[in-house]
Structures are given as structure tokens and as C-alpha cells.
């Protein structure tokens, strides 16, 4: 089921703007039905083979790379190196993945530092590994505005329209903690941004600002930089006006469902990825240099933010 989910939902992320779609019409319904049926049969077939031995890993569209083929390759690769079938389970938001982890539906997940710290605090998550981009396992959060905007700081955007990626992301919390406003925490979000929305994808946040749907947005700095490299015409329509301090990159985490042996196996499989050609090729597609063990100390900065942040109950309006 989950492998199919990656494929089907994969088209809904940042790239869905270009994907053909027709919501009305019986033929489309029919086609979708046939695809679902075939997919279900395939998955049912594969599940008979692997049965209970499958390892379920959660991912979200917040990641810059959402190409389902890459995840298929990665799942095959990990299945081989772990000696167990691996399935990636796709969900739109960190909140949904967090819930699956809490319920034990997932063994592992590649999630954001903020839900990880909360999971650790709640006692159902453990650290596995962290990707490194360049030589660092760190990233910054950027405050971006349309290129034509006259805003020079978050203060100038007060009362405007704002785009966030995910309410459970470190980028949102960093924003709340005042990381993008000279350390002054944002006490009332409604007051600052009566109109705001979540895109559930850093790339789409960039697009929302570039299209001037929003007056500003906060995004993963790595995503913005990566986009600047491959979609410069889009990032050129935006301007970075503030950068936060560093945060640990989204970690691989283990739920209470995974045992130590499985954690060790996944850890080894991830860390060994840049040791062979296929692993290196997949890392390249993921735009990650390598995976490494840094321990959860890496996410202390988030812990600090958490301590100083007003805990909004922010959910989609």
C-alpha cells in the first residue's frame, strides 16, 4: 500500500503544478480505479512474499526531492543492504508522520528536527542518522520576500500575507522563536499575519513568494540554494532578507516499533551508502553528501527554541 502511495502522491508535490489533471470525467475515474486495482494486486503479491518482515519508513513532501522513482530505487537499495523489504510511506505533513510513528505504524521516518525533539521528549522516538550536505549536518532557515518587495525585515511584513512550509517544521518554530526577527518571539501569529497558509513543501513556499501570492515566507536554506542552482528563474523572483542560526538537518528517526538490531542495520545501511556506486548515485539524487551519526545533541538549538517559544496551537485554518 505504501509503495503505491509514494507513486500516487508523488505527483502532488511541488511538481503538481505542471502535471495534467482533470477532476471531472468518468474516464479518469475509471482509469484511476484500474490503476488502484492493479497496484493493490501488485502490493498484495509482494506482501505475501515479505510478510511481516517489511520495514516501513515515513517521508513527507517537505523534502526537496519527491521523485517517486528515486524512492523506489532507494527502497530497493535499502532492502538489499538491510536484507529486509523496505517500504517508504508518504504523508503530506510532518504531523501525520509523527502520528504514524506514535502509533507504531512506522519503524522509521525521515522527519524534521522539531517533531523529532518532541518525539524524544514524549519517549517514542530515537535517533538513527543525519544527512550531511557539503560537510555539515546543518541548515539555516531563510526569510524570503518577492524580489520586488521593499521589506527589509520581518517587521516590514507585519500585517501581510505569509507562507509557511509545515506547522510542525523547525523553520516554523524558528520563526515563532524570533530567529528571523532579532530574537523577538512572535507572540501572536494572528496579529502578525492575519492571512497565512502552509504549503507543506519548502519548494512551494518559494513558489508562493515568487508568484507574490504571499508577501513573505520561511524556507529551508538548503532547498532555496538547491532551487537557485536548478530553477534560477524562480528563485530570482525572491530575495532572502534574513537567515536564522543553524539547525540539525532533518534526521532519520526510529519509532518504538523498531528494535535496536533494526536501528543498527538501517544505520549501517545509510552510513554505507556512499561506499558503493548505487548508494552514491541515490545520495546524489537526494542532494545529500552522506549520512552520518551525530547524535541528538545536534538538535539542541531546537530544544532552546522550544523553551522560549509560545506554543501556538497552529493548524490549518
Amino acid at each position: 500500500m505504501s509503495a503505491w502511495e509514494i507513486r500516487m502522491n508523488g505527483a502532488n508535490g511541488f511538481f503538481r503544478l505542471a502535471a495534467p489533471m482533470c477532476l471531472s470525467g468518468a474516464c479518469v475515474h475509471m482509469k484511476a480505479y484500474v490503476v488502484r486495482l492493479l497496484a493493490a494486486l501488485l502490493i498484495a503479491g509482494s506482501m505475501i512474499g515479505y510478510a511481516s518482515a517489511e520495514v516501513r519508513i515515513g517521508i513527507t513532501q517537505a523534502m526537496f526531492v519527491k521523485d517517486s522513482l528515486t524512492y523506489d530505487r532507494w527502497a530497493k537499495y535499502l532492502s538489499r543492504s538491510m536484507g529486509q523489504p523496505v517500504l517508504f510511506v508518504y504523508r503530506k505533513s510532518y504531523g501525520e508522520i509523527q502520528e504514524l510513528l506514535r502509533q507504531g505504524d512506522l519503524h522509521f521516518a525521515w522527519t524534521c528536527g522539531y517533531p523529532f525533539i518532541k518525539g524524544v521528549q514524549d519517549g517514542f522516538l530515537r535517533y538513527v542518522a543525519t544527512p550531511e550536505i557539503g560537510a555539515e549536518p546543518l541548515y539555516r532557515i531563510y526569510l524570503i520576500v518577492p524580489a520586488s518587495s521593499t521589506a527589509r525585515s520581518l517587521d516590514d511584513l507585519k500585517g501581510g500575507i505569509f507562507a509557511f512550509s509545515d506547522p510542525d517544521s523547525a523553520s516554523f518554530r524558528a520563526f515563532a522563536a524570533g530567529q528571523l526577527s532579532q530574537g523577538k518571539p512572535i507572540m501572536s501569529l494572528n496579529q502578525w499575519f492575519p492571512i497565512r497558509f502552509f504549503t507543506y513543501s519548502h519548494a512551494e513556499t518559494v513558489k508562493a513568494v515568487a508568484d507574490r501570492v504571499a508577501d513573505g515566507g520561511s524556507v529551508d536554506g538548503h532547498v532555496w540554494e538547491a532551487m537557485a542552482a536548478i530553477l534560477p528563474e524562480l528563485t530570482r523572483k525572491t530575495r532572502v532578507i534574513a537567515r536564522s542560526g543553524t539547525y540539525g538537518l532533518p534526521p532519520f528517526v526510529a519509532s518504538w516499533r523498531a528494535d535496536e538490531r533494526q536501528i543498527a542495520i538501517l544505520q549501517k545501511a545509510l552510513l554505507d551508502m556512499n561506499g558503493d556506486r548505487e548508494g552514491k548515485s541515490i545520495l546524489e539524487l537526494l542532494q545529500v553528501t552522506r549520512f552520518a551519526r551525530h547524535g541528538d545533541k545536534l538538535y539542541d538549538s531546537i530544544r532552546v527554541d522550544l523553551g522560549s517559544t509560545p506554543m501556538w496551537r497552529e493548524a490549518p485554518p
Binding site: 495534467p20 507562507a163 492571512i195
Partner: protein, 511 residues
């Protein structure tokens, strides 16, 4: 052969145009008439079709947006609404349905999403809301033509409902300028195609008509030459096609050919006739001269043999003189037309009656009755000697034609401008073959005739500017009519003989 027919427009009246102009002009007129009708139909039809297509597409887009966004409108999920809206706008064939703007608004007209966020912020009233006045509150989907910022546009309003309650609307505006442009493009295309067709058609019909008409123009030129008598200059007209015109040309060519042959034949005939006449003249002259020459030779022989015998010598000399006289008479007769130096003079009608006295005695001997009617009442100007010679000739001929007796009729009369003298006999008459030859010199039916009488008479009558006619019927008789123009007696003029005449009205008539 006529040269290439010249195309010339002499008048604005199409009835006078050459076919070479008329054909292409007709083709062009037909093509453009069809194009005009097609253009009008295309304009009406195309406008209707394009409008229908646009309306359908607009409705479809509005319904799609309503169905896919109801929940997002309820949750005010701005980003999903914007993403869906811009995706649908992107899918839209902008050429078929150019979207001016698309917007999703809440039930107060506040924009939740807009296709152009750079000019329409979310969270405030839609700028184009005025254009949707009346539609916006309609419970159903409304499609209507209206104006947006002063420009004509197709407006669509579709209500968004969630759990049975209206929570917003999808509002779309389409540019309709493209309809006019597309229709214009169609009309221009039709115009271009028909112009091309007209050019090709007129060229083809020009070439065709030129080809078709060429023989007709040649026919006209040839017919003109026939009229001018230049039959020799006509060359056969080339036949290009075996059709009605081709048949006409072939027939004409045949006709010209026949005319030429006949002309050639006539010319040949005239030459041979002339030669025959000359031959007869020469042989007549030879014969007439030969007779006295024979007698004269005998006389000379006699003179030589009996030169000492005065009586014989006297006889021979007389015979020689007589023979020379005969030859002189023949030559005189032949030259009669060429030495007419006689002057014209006034003649009293009674002078004709002298002729009656001349023939009366002979007639009595031959048992011929004379019917003499002289109806001329006043003097007339005439070459008297010539006229008398002609009439004596005719009277003597008439007497000779009646060896068994009969009636000789003489009838002189005058009309307005002519004098007519008729001499008629009741003799045996002549067949047509004979009539045809009687005016030739040396033609005679009498054993001792010279055959010069009528020939000379004809020459004299012609010299007087008149005419000599003959009518004859075998078994009934012959009638000769001399008709000469009447010359007024009180004028002086140059005659055609080059002789000066003078009126002698007051002088006593001399016989």
C-alpha cells in the same frame, strides 16, 4: 493569317468588350461573389461556433474548479486554491479560451485565490466584482457577456457550496477580442484563397478565351479581305480544336479555297475568251483582205499578160482599184471607233424619217410592211451621222432577217433623260448562242455579210454614251433597242469624245 488579336477596351459598356476580357472578368466576378457569400456565412458561422466553444469551455472550467475546491474554500486553504486555479488556467488552451482572470472568492467577494496574485492580493475584495453584478448572487451557474475594465468579456459565475451552504464563488473572465480576430483571420484567409483562385481562374480563362477566339478574329480579318477582293492574301486559318469553332474555321477555309479556284478558273476563261475573240478578229480580217487580194492578183496577172491591150489594162486597173477599195473599207470599218471626230449637232426629229425613204423601196420589193412611229416632238442634240449609221445598220439587218416578208417596226421615243430607238422584225429570231456572239466582229450569218455591222454599231452607240440591247425569240423575231442619253439642246459642253459643241437652235435645220 491574322496576327495576334489586339485586346482593346474602347468603352465602358461591357457589351462592347472583347471576349478575351469578358471571360476573365466574369470568372473573377463569379469567384469574388462566391467568396463574398462564403465570407459572410463564415463570419456569422465562425462567430457562433467560436462563441459556443468558448462558452462551453468556460462553463467546464468553472465546474471543474467548483468541484475540486469546495473543501479548500471551506478551509480557506489559500495555497491549494491558488495551486489548483493556476494549474487549471495553465491547462487551459489560451488560444481557444484566453483567460483574462480567474478568481475564487468567499461569500463576501473577498478573494481567496486569483490567477494574477501580483495584481490582486488575497484577503481583499475582488477588483472585477462590479462586472459580476447580479450574477454573483445567482444561485446557479451564470454565463454572460459583459465588460471588464471597459473591454468586452465573457463572464462566468459559479457558486461553491459546502455541506449545502453557499460559501463562495468561482468567477472567471475570458477575453472575447480573439473571436473578432479569429473571424477576421478566417475572412482574410477566404479572401486570400479566392484572390488566388481568381488570379488562376482569370489567367486560365484568358488563355483559353484567347485560344478559342483567335480563329474567330482570323475569320473576321479574312472575311474583311474577301470583301476587299484580296482573296489571294488569305492564308488558311489554323484549326486548334475540333469543336464548333473548329468546324466553322474548317468550313470557312474550304469556302475560301473554292472561291480561289473559281477566280482562277474565271481568269483563265477570260484570257482564253479574249484570245479566241482576237483569233476570230484576225481570221476575219485575213479573210476579208484575202478575197480582194486574190482578185487583185488576177488583175495584176492580167495586166502583165495584156499590158498592150488598153481595154484589158483598163479593166485590170479598175479591178485593182476595186480590190484596194474593199480593203480600205474593211480597215475603215475596223477603225471607225478610233477616228470619231464628228461634231454634235441639233437634229430635227423629222430627219429620222429620211431613213424611212431609204428602206421603203427595198421593203416593198421584199413584201415587208413598215410600221414607222416617230414620237420625238422636239429637236435634240446628237451625233447625227453616227446615229443614222447605227439605225440604217439595224434597219437593213431587220429587212435581211425577213426574206419571206413580215413587219418592220421602227419606234423612236423620248423619256426624261434618254432617247430610245427600237427596230423590230418578225423574222426567224435567234437562239441564245447566236445572240451571245452577234456583237463580235466578223460574226455573220449571211453569206455575203462582213460581220462588222453590229460590232461597229455597238462601238458607235457606246461612243455616244448609250447602250444597244437585243431581245430575240426564235420563230417570232428580234428587237434591237438603242438608248442614248438626251443632251439638252440649249447647253454647250465637252462631250466624252472631246468635241466642242454649240447650240444651233436658231439656225435652220439642215438635212
Amino acid at each position: 493569317m491574322a496576327g495576334s488579336p489586339a485586346v482593346k477596351l474602347d468603352t465602358f459598356d461591357p457589351r462592347h468588350w472583347p471576349l478575351q476580357i469578358k471571360f476573365p472578368v466574369t470568372v473573377v466576378a463569379i469567384v469574388y461573389s462566391v467568396a463574398l457569400i462564403a465570407g459572410v456565412i463564415a463570419q456569422v458561422w465562425e462567430t457562433k461556433l467560436v462563441r459556443n466553444a468558448l462558452e462551453n469551455r468556460a462553463q467546464q472550467l468553472a465546474l471543474t474548479l467548483v468541484l475540486s475546491n469546495a473543501e479548500s474554500v471551506a478551509r480557506m486553504d489559500y495555497w491549494v486554491l491558488y495551486a489548483n486555479l493556476s494549474k487549471q488556467a495553465g491547462v487551459l488552451d489560451q488560444e481557444m479560451a484566453p483567460l483574462l482572470f480567474g478568481s475564487i472568492v468567499n461569500d463576501e467577494g473577498i478573494v481567496l485565490a486569483h490567477t494574477h496574485p501580483e495584481r490582486q492580493r488575497i484577503g481583499i475584495l475582488l477588483a472585477e466584482l462590479d462586472s459580476f453584478e447580479g450574477m454573483y448572487s445567482d444561485p446557479g451557474l451564470v454565463v454572460r457577456y459583459g465588460t471588464v475594465h471597459g473591454n468586452e468579456a465573457l463572464l462566468v459565475s459559479a457558486p461553491v457550496e459546502y455541506r449545502g451552504k453557499r460559501i463562495g464563488s468561482v468567477l472567471l473572465g475570458f477575453d472575447t477580442d480573439f473571436i473578432r480576430e479569429r473571424v477576421l483571420a478566417t475572412v482574410i484567409a477566404i479572401g486570400a484563397v479566392s484572390t488566388l483562385l481568381a488570379i488562376i481562374g482569370s489567367l486560365l480563362s484568358w488563355v483559353y478565351s484567347r485560344r478559342t477566339i483567335k480563329p474567330i478574329v482570323s475569320l473576321t480579318a479574312s472575311a474583311e479581305k474577301i470583301r476587299a477582293g484580296q482573296l489571294d492574301e488569305i492564308a488558311p486559318i489554323q484549326v486548334y480544336e475540333k469543336n464548333e469553332i473548329g468546324d466553322l474555321v474548317a468550313t470557312f477555309n474550304g469556302m475560301v479555297e473554292q472561291l480561289k479556284e473559281r477566280d482562277a478558273l474565271n481568269a483563265q476563261l477570260q484570257v482564253s475568251e479574249k484570245l479566241a475573240a482576237i483569233g476570230r478578229l484576225v481570221s476575219g480580217v485575213a479573210h476579208e483582205i484575202n478575197n480582194p487580194v486574190g482578185g487583185m492578183k488576177n488583175a495584176l496577172e492580167c495586166l502583165r499578160m495584156f499590158s498592150n491591150d488598153p481595154k484589158r489594162r483598163e479593166e485590170s486597173i479598175h479591178l485593182l482599184e476595186s480590190g484596194l477599195g474593199q480593203i480600205e473599207g474593211v480597215v475603215d470599218s475596223l477603225l471607225v471607233q478610233h477616228r470619231s471626230t464628228e461634231t454634235i449637232s441639233v437634229c430635227n426629229p423629222r430627219c429620222l424619217d429620211d431613213l424611212f425613204l431609204l428602206v421603203r423601196h427595198d421593203c416593198e420589193l421584199r413584201n415587208i410592211r413598215i410600221d414607222w412611229r416617230n414620237e420625238l416632238g422636239r429637236p435634240f442634240m446628237v451625233f447625227r451621222a453616227r446615229l443614222q449609221q447605227v439605225l440604217i445598220n439595224l434597219l437593213v439587218n431587220a429587212m435581211h432577217a425577213m426574206p419571206e416578208g413580215g413587219t418592220l417596226t421602227f419606234h423612236a421615243s423620248e423619256r426624261d433623260s434618254t432617247l430610245a430607238f427600237v427596230v423590230e422584225d418578225t423574222g426567224s429570231g435567234m437562239p441564245q448562242k447566236q445572240i451571245d456572239r452577234i456583237f463580235e466582229p466578223f460574226f455573220t450569218t449571211r453569206p455575203n455579210g462582213t460581220g462588222l455591222g453590229l460590232w461597229v454599231s455597238m462601238g458607235l452607240v457606246h461612243a455616244m454614251g448609250g447602250d444597244l440591247e437585243v431581245e430575240s425569240e426564235v420563230g417570232k423575231g428580234t428587237r434591237f433597242s438603242v438608248i442614248i442619253p438626251r443632251i439638252p439642246a440649249d447647253t454647250e459642253r465637252e462631250t466624252d469624245m472631246g468635241v466642242s459643241i454649240r447650240s444651233e437652235k436658231d439656225e435652220p435645220v439642215h438635212h
